[in-house]
């Protein structure tokens, strides 16, 4: 990051959402790297960019495909890498042929010469990387968006080398670690396939129990299953779906309709308040032991700094006790014992990461198969090896522009997109607890053009209405927004439940909901009241 030449920061406001990562990016910029920011909003991250590409919400694939076509037609493809290390290039090439610069400009709103410039700079750079966050993944075509960016890196050989690559910036401190440990519906620990018979047999032998052979449900599929009545009981650990999921009214209804809802939490969240049973838990990050994995795959130790409140139990203790009541006596293993079991069942992945080494090295980046292995700074270096060591080719994937499911119309003429602000976090469960001069509460960011057209003054209460719900919040006239776009967060759901507005459509491949785009109407909340009081 600090030594790369070009950075595409795509769908990410890292300055606010990943501030310390952004320090490293700034070091890169001071070292001479060029920064291109792709974001519908001219965010505080975009203000550091050499070029801001203020694309239309949900037009990421169109932008990427247009750049790819330009790179191909300008003869800037990394031919050697593409022929040695990739597959599916011809199909991909044919699929982007219709994305001319003019088509790209029409679909994305970004001027053709700016797209052309970005494509050339990226392709010609010695080292270049693409970093993204939820601006790429909170769409109904999330996985395709990611694949579109991977295609660009494959096309130009910007992968598997120092200062290059595709970097999703993880939004939560252990979202990566959850995946590592197998807390995803289709994987065992270490990203091993549940549906693979040989792997399953190995885990059955190790755990001495029969394992079901099918992938489980992701969150959006669970919500659908609740709706269908096939999922009747839910155990929620440290998540607040009543407020964090799209189309809030709907989700709350589904949770209330369950036969049995158990919530393991550190504070009384909205979801916990709906539960039949609440299991008060210690906050593991500071009241327990364990590991978390950060965005750069670095496994690091969490340690107990203080005692939990009376009655709150260690999370491992709770899980072991539930197992006992279900007829499995696991005893009460320590976090290190659980971790060592993980190292055993996922040896290629984490075999070398003992607690002792994690301490000594200040964390280790996976994969780290044995105790002499230093960890892996970047992935996919094998793609540059000689044929025998190169392994399977990296596939191009054909992806097509679709755009958001819900586009503005006469009744709902604005597009609402959501995100984070610096001082707050998700549904505010954690950040509501401290006083900050930056806590201004929820606001509706609106462009000066739309505010003027609608007669809205700064800080005036406005009503935002979508097809699913309606909320009231103060307007914030924000010159970083283009006309037609409004921005809100999910940080203050008790005051302003933004998720009553968002649309309940999700990506069939990843299960991510389209938080980034829904059509809304904005109007002055008390205009009529004021008007009538003036007449009386």
């Amino acid at each position: 990051m600090e030594e790369t030449d070009v950075v595409f920061l795509w769908g990410s406001n890292a300055r606010a959402a990943h501030p310390i990562w952004f320090h490293h990016l700034l070091k890169g910029i001071h070292n001479g790297a060029k920064l291109y920011v792709m974001d519908p909003r001219r965010t505080e991250s975009a203000q550091w960019a050499d070029v801001w590409l203020g694309l239309n919400v949900g037009s990421d694939i169109a932008l990427s495909n247009t750049m790819a076509r330009e790179i191909i037609h300008a003869g800037l493809v990394h031919e050697e890498f593409v022929s040695n290390a990739t597959s599916g290039y011809e199909d991909y090439k044919a699929s982007v042929e219709s994305y001319t610069l003019d088509v790209g400009e029409r679909l994305t709103g970004v001027p053709a010469d700016v797209i052309r410039d970005a494509a050339h700079v990226f392709a010609k750079a010695d080292r270049a990387m693409i970093c993204w966050t939820l601006g790429i993944t909170e769409h109904h075509d999330a996985a395709d968006n990611v694949l579109a960016l991977i295609n660009l890196c494959l096309l130009t050989g910007h992968v598997g080398r120092w200062g290059c690559g595709c970097n999703p910036l993880r939004g939560q401190n252990n979202v990566q670690g959850g995946g590592d440990m197998g807390a995803i519906p289709n994987k065992y620990p270490g990203f091993q396939e549940i549906t693979d018979g040989v792997t399953r047999l190995r885990f059955e032998k190790h755990w001495k129990t029969k394992l079901q052979p099918n992938a489980g449900l992701n969150l959006t599929q669970m919500l659908k299953a609740m709706e269908a009545g096939s999922l009747k009981a839910l155990f929620v650990i440290g998540e607040n779906p009543a407020q964090s999921d799209a189309d809030g009214h709907h989700v709350e209804g589904l949770l209330e309709g369950l036969d049995h809802l158990v919530v393991q939490e550190i504070v009384m969240t909205k979801t916990a308040s709906l539960a039949h049973v609440v299991l008060p838990a210690a906050a593991t990050w500071c009241e327990g032991e364990g590991t978390v994995t950060n965005s750069e795959r670095r496994v690091q130790r969490c340690r107990k700094a203080s005692e939990p409140p009376e009655g709150a139990k260690d999370e491992l203790w709770i899980i072991a006790e539930i197992a006992k009541r279900l007829g499995h006596d696991w005893g009460h293993p320590t976090a290190e014992e659980v971790w060592n079991e993980f190292r055993k069942v996922a040896a290629d992945f984490a075999g070398g990461m003992s607690y002792k080494r994690l301490e000594e090295l200040g964390g280790i980046q996976w994969p780290c198969p044995d105790e002499s292995h230093p960890g892996t700074t970047f992935l996919h270096a094998r793609l540059w090896e000689k044929r025998k060591k190169r392994g399977p080719a990296a596939p191009f994937t054909v992806v097509r522009h679709e755009g958001p499911v819900e586009m503005p119309n006469e009744e709902y003429p604005l597009l609402l997109t959501t995100g984070r602000r610096l001082e707050s976090y998700n549904t505010g469960v954690q950040t509501a607890g401290y006083d900050s001069p930056l806590h201004w509460g929820e606001m509706v960011d609106i462009s000066p053009e739309d505010a003027a057209r609608l007669g809205i003054a700064d800080n005036e209460e406005v009503r935002v209405t979508s097809r699913r719900g309606s909320v009231v919040a103060p307007a914030h006239i924000d010159s970083t927004l283009r006309a037609g776009l409004v921005f809100m967060t999910l940080h203050f759901p008790d005051d302003v439940a933004t998720n009553l507005l968002t649309i309940d459509v999700s990506d069939p491949k990843s299960g991510t909901a389209e938080f980034k785009a829904c059509a809304v109407r904005v109007e002055r909340a008390f205009a009529n009241v004021l008007a009538s009081s003036n007449h009386s």
């Binding site: 550091w48 500071c286 994995t293 950060n294 200040g362 001082e423 509501a432």
Partner: protein, 319 residues
């Protein structure tokens, strides 16, 4: 300070540095090209006091405490920034060096409240400093007076008192305070807020000479400034002029007790960057959060959430 190897990972095609040989206090030493005299001294176990130097910041050469003698140089040189040269002969503790350090420390101690500067009492004693010989300290300035000083406007000094920067602490938000009666103008906060780390540029040095002070733009209060409350200025402040409000309040009511505090490293519970948080716990209450300077992810920096956003785990402890 030991820097873990992952901090130094560089692109693989970089050439190794040349080795430079020099002499410090009569001992020969070999260090890589580009090393500072200060670092070379530390490899020999020679301790040199510093105020404005920090491993994670670029040297600004302002405190003049780390001066050493280099043979052939007319004046003393700041060891924190001067790079070693082949055949250099360095003396770190002769009379000339010690006399300079004594003067610098005495003048600071006569004009600034150094009561919360770690290690300062020992340093003043080591160099036989007698700040009281400059006279009794002048009475504190009223709030805002030093911030209103205009360049070029001078009042004649009062020979009965030692001039001071004493003034009331600025408490204008719930997260951290600024007590500029304790400020030695080391610039660390300005550099941390600026290009070295945070790049927010909320503060700078305003005024000249004895009127120089750290200021927000137009001396506005923090909530009206560009400050984003990362507290990375607090992390580098060597004197306690910048202090988290919780520590300031506890010191004020006498409950702050570092001997009863235990520091534990864990990982911040917010975004996926994975910043190491050192939680300072006193009586089962988190009273402060910092990050280690030698941590490759943070270099000692945090954002507002990491540095201040952990109250949710201890609402009971404070109520």
């Amino acid at each position: 300070m030991t820097v873990p190897s992952f901090v130094q990972i560089r692109r693989p095609d970089r050439e190794p540095k040349k080795t430079i040989e020099l002499q410090i206090d009569g001992k020969a030493v070999k260090v890589p090209e580009g090393t500072t005299i200060l670092t070379a001294c530390r490899t020999l176990g020679i301790e040199i006091p510093t105020l404005c130097y920090l491993e994670t910041l670029r040297p600004v050469n302002v405190c003049r405490v780390c001066m050493v003698e280099v043979e052939g140089s007319r004046v003393l040189v700041p060891s924190c920034s001067r790079q070693v040269e082949a055949g250099m002969v360095v003396r770190t503790g002769n009379d000339r060096v010690n006399h300079t350090r004594k003067m610098v420390l005495e003048m600071l101690a006569s004009s600034v409240d150094l009561s919360t500067t770690p290690g300062m009492d020992e340093l003043l004693e080591e160099y036989d400093c007698k700040p009281e010989r400059y006279g009794p300290p002048a009475p504190p300035a009223a709030a805002g007076v030093r911030d209103a000083a205009v360049c070029g406007h001078h009042t004649p000094p009062n020979p009965d008192f030692a001039a001071t920067v004493a003034q009331p602490p600025m408490v204008d938000n719930d997260l951290y305070i600024r007590d500029y009666a304790k400020c030695v103008l080391c610039y660390k906060c300005v550099e941390a807020c600026g290009v070295d780390h945070q790049n927010t540029f909320a503060i700078a040095v305003a005024g000249r000479g004895f009127d120089a002070r750290i200021s927000t733009e137009l001396a506005v209060e923090l909530p009206d400034s560009a400050c984003v409350y990362c507290g990375n200025c607090i992390a580098v402040c060597p004197t306690g002029a910048l202090m988290a409000k919780r520590e300031f309040d506890m010191r004020s009511d006498g409950s702050w007790d570092e001997e009863k505090q235990k520091a534990t490293d864990t990982i911040c519970p917010y975004c996926g960057v994975g910043c190491t948080l050192t939680l300072h716990v006193q009586g089962n209450e988190i009273v402060k959060a910092t990050s280690p300077l030698d941590n490759g992810v943070t270099l000692g920096n945090l954002c507002i959430k990491g540095r201040f956003g952990w109250r949710f785990v201890q609402r009971n402890a404070e109520s």
